[in-house]
């Protein structure tokens, strides 16, 4: 009886720990490359690259991010934010957004989000981000018109 309980305890511990830790660090990322790109990318045909980058910076500011780096030539912007949930319970959020010119005056915006030490694969997170970007793009477009 006692041995069975200890076995149960060991099983619980191994299952729980397996959920959090991996034997090797996540060097090459996880998941399908194609699926990841589809999840993280949205195409726009309303604004050029420069104005899209302005909108991305504004979106990150709207969401409470601090801009860490930005490069207009490569079209990359990285921001970070500490998300406060409750006292002493905070998350460090980091996001890199790239803006690329495509054929036919389109631009592709790709966002990579990380939460603490993990990549974010939740589709809702990217939907929320692109919804916020849509709004910023609209506001930028209004200024141009």
């Amino acid at each position: 009886m006692m041995r069975r309980s200890l076995q149960c305890l060991a099983l619980c511990a191994s299952v729980a720990l397996a959920g959090c830790a991996t034997a090797t660090p996540d060097v090459t990322g996880s998941g399908s490359q194609l699926q990841t790109r589809q999840l993280q990318t949205r195409d726009y045909d309303t604004l050029d690259k420069e104005k899209t980058m302005r909108s991305v910076v504004a979106t990150l500011q709207d969401l409470g991010f601090t801009i860490d780096t930005a490069d207009p030539t490569l079209g990359t912007i990285t921001g970070s934010r500490v998300y406060y949930e409750s006292d002493y319970k905070n998350f460090t959020m980091r996001m890199t957004v790239t803006v690329r010119e495509m054929e036919g005056k389109r631009v592709a915006v790709r966002a990579n989000a990380r939460l603490n030490d993990k990549a974010v694969a939740d589709p809702l997170t990217y939907q929320d981000f692109f919804a916020a970007l849509d709004k910023a793009m609209f506001l930028t477009l209004q200024q141009v018109d």
Binding site: A16, G19, I67, Y83, A132
Partner: protein, 195 residues
Amino acid sequence: MPVVGGRARRAGLAGVLLLCGCLAGCESIPEEAYRLPPSSQGVREAQTRTFEVPAEANILQASVALMQDMDYNFDTIEYPLGVLSGSKTVDADSIARNAGLVAADIALVILAVIGGQVPGGSLYAQADDEIKLTVTMVVLPSLENEGQYTARITIRSELVDKSDHVKKVVMIEDPVVYQEIFEKLSKSLFLEGVQ
């Protein structure tokens, strides 16, 4: 037999607790983390001002000088995108003692915001705590009118204890703070000799 049963129950309970503890360690992304707050449009307006100056260099130089006036050290400057980020750490305790010194007015507002969110309204900061303030300024030519430049400022305040643990994080949304900073930016333009 009852003794073994009690041990078994305790071992089972320990297993459940261990599982709960470990699962609690696997954080998931907060639901509203990337969602715009309903107040975002009003906050954005308070954080933004348009200035009419002869050249982009004028507003950028005045903005750099303003950040220095407010005692911030630069962390990032991305010129073509007009991004200026700076930060400073202030002693939470000394702010109360040194009220009236440069930039303490802003920090006091921030401290009040932090204190106001604690049940009972008590001041949350402890004597050994520090407040890390991070300012991001984006200064770009206006898309609406030539010769005009828009400046948008956002400020994050983190209350950090002596062990470097973040106790609380607040995005400053009080329009009074931004009003004061934009007044200082106007003054900075004047001091730089920009008409």
